[in-house]
Structures are given as structure tokens and as C-alpha cells.
Symmetry: C2
Subunit: 152 residues, 2 copies
């Protein structure tokens, strides 16, 4: 069932997902998008006082949050008609994400704003918080998406 902008309300909270972070996926992402040595090499990661062992790029964690959100919408049978992402604020990397971690997402609607000029769309602001298998918050951000409205 299509879930239009009109079907979301501030305060809605959903928790979902279980994404295993594999060592090879950390390397594959880092080689292409964040080739700093502590994402590519065990010894360099061990020498980093904030990591201590191989840790994923923070941008990979952001991608994992996005994937969990897209899969969740699909699994619900929602065809949330997202037009595009507009932006992200308050992205914080709170703890390292390690190989072998399993990540889940807590997602909360903050604000729903119909466009004034275009009656067929509007924006939704939401907070995504990624947790590891110990229940620790590892990353959080606030995203703004452009979503279609139900046109009656």
C-alpha cells in the first residue's frame, strides 16, 4: 500500500533490521570511498586510539542505515513515493563499527511539511539512529526527504 507524505506523522517510531558488517565489505567500501589506512589495515587500525581494531568507514555506516530504511519500507509493502533525498544534518559517528557487528535502525519522524508551491509533494524530516548488537548507538543523523502527497 502506498504510504504518501500524508500518511506520516511526527512521533512515529519504527525499529528494524539486522545488518551484518563483514570484514570484506569494510575493505571493499574503504578501497572505493574512504581509503584511510585504519579502514584498510589491521595494524593501522590497532594503532588508532579511537578504534583499536578494524573499523568501518563512517560513510559506510550511513549507507547501511539507508539500506535498512529502504528495505524496511519495501518489506512493509509500502511504496513510499520518495522523490529524492534533500539533505542531512547532525550526522554523528558516536562509536566505531567493527567487523562482525550487526546493525539495526531506529527511525523517528520529526516533521512533515507539505510544499506551499507544489501541492503534489512535501518534505519529511526524520532521525535515524544506528545501534550495534550491544544496544549501543553508533551513528545518528537527521535526514530530509522529498515525498509525494496523496492527490485526491
Amino acid at each position: 500500500m502506498t504510504r504518501w507524505l500524508d500518511d506520516y506523522e511526527p512521533g512515529l517510531v519504527e525499529r528494524f533490521g539486522a545488518f551484518p558488517v563483514e570484514r570484506e565489505a569494510i575493505f571493499a567500501f574503504a578501497r572505493l570511498y574512504d581509503p584511510q589506512d585504519f579502514h584498510l589495515d589491521d595494524a593501522a587500525a590497532a594503532a588508532n586510539p579511537l578504534f583499536g581494531r578494524l573499523a568501518a568507514s563512517g560513510w559506510q555506516s550511513a549507507g547501511i542505515a539507508m539500506r535498512l530504511l529502504v528495505e524496511h519500507r519495501r518489506a512493509r509493502g509500502d511504496l513510499t513515493p520518495v522523490l529524492a533525498g534533500a539533505g542531512v544534518d547532525e550526522l554523528r559517528w558516536l562509536k566505531p563499527v567493527y567487523a562482525g557487528d550487526t546493525l539495526s535502525l531506529e527511525w523517528e519522524v520529526l516533521e512533515v511539511t507539505p510544499s506551499r508551491s507544489k501541492p503534489d509533494r512535501g518534505t519529511m524530516r526524520s532521525r535515524s539512529t544506528l545501534h550495534n548488537q550491544h544496544g549501543e548507538r553508533v551513528m545518528t543523523f537527521v535526514a530530509t526527504e522529498l515525498i509525494r502527497r496523496r492527490v485526491v
Copy 2:
């Protein structure tokens, strides 16, 4: 030469990079981290009024900016001793990134702040702006990194 936190000053601007965005790389990223249909399918992208044709995930664009920055530091021979990324604000996707685009980065230091409690490190805030081959700004964000200080 190592470029410590102390070697950066607000107002420094550097422009660099030429990253070709390949169609297959758009698909590969989207399959793993942003499997929305307009990043995976030409017809769905064409039907999206904001894209019109296959466009990269915004998170892939962020990763490309990160890669350009890491490569630039390495190419300069800088071993900027980044400890970790702390966070990102004001991330905005301004225009679609299309297959065949070539992206370059404009990078500006905004703020350098030694830690009060830990004399060996501090934070640097910088603005990254990704441009396409037409000189259009396609993405911008402000990042905060934790960087080591020169310990004399």
C-alpha cells in the same frame, strides 16, 4: 610531510580531483547501500521528475568526496594524522549526479580548535563542495574531523 592540526588555518581553500562516475559503479553502490529503484533502473529514473535519467545515490556522492579528499592528502605527501571523523552537518544534495559525470572537490577550512582536555589533538571543521564537469555544485557538506597536533 606530516600536516598536523597546527598546520591548517581557516580560509585555506584547495581544489582537486577528477572522479569519473561510472554507470556500473552507480548500480554496485545502490544494490548494497541505497536500493531505491531510481538508482537501479533506467525506466524508474526517467519517471522521476527530479532525475530524468539514472542518478547516483547521494551517499555515493558523499563517498566520492571523501575519496577525493583522502587521495588529495596522500598525493600531496601529507600524512594528515586524522584520528577519526566526528560528524557532518549541512549535507545538501543540490543536483543529480549522473553516469558519465566527472566530479571534483573544492575544500575549505572553516575552523581549527585545539582540544582543551587533550593537548595532542583537536578538531577541524571544513566545507567540501563537489562540482560536476559543467562547474555546477552537486553536493556540499561541513565535516568535523579529529586530528593530531604537533607535539613539540
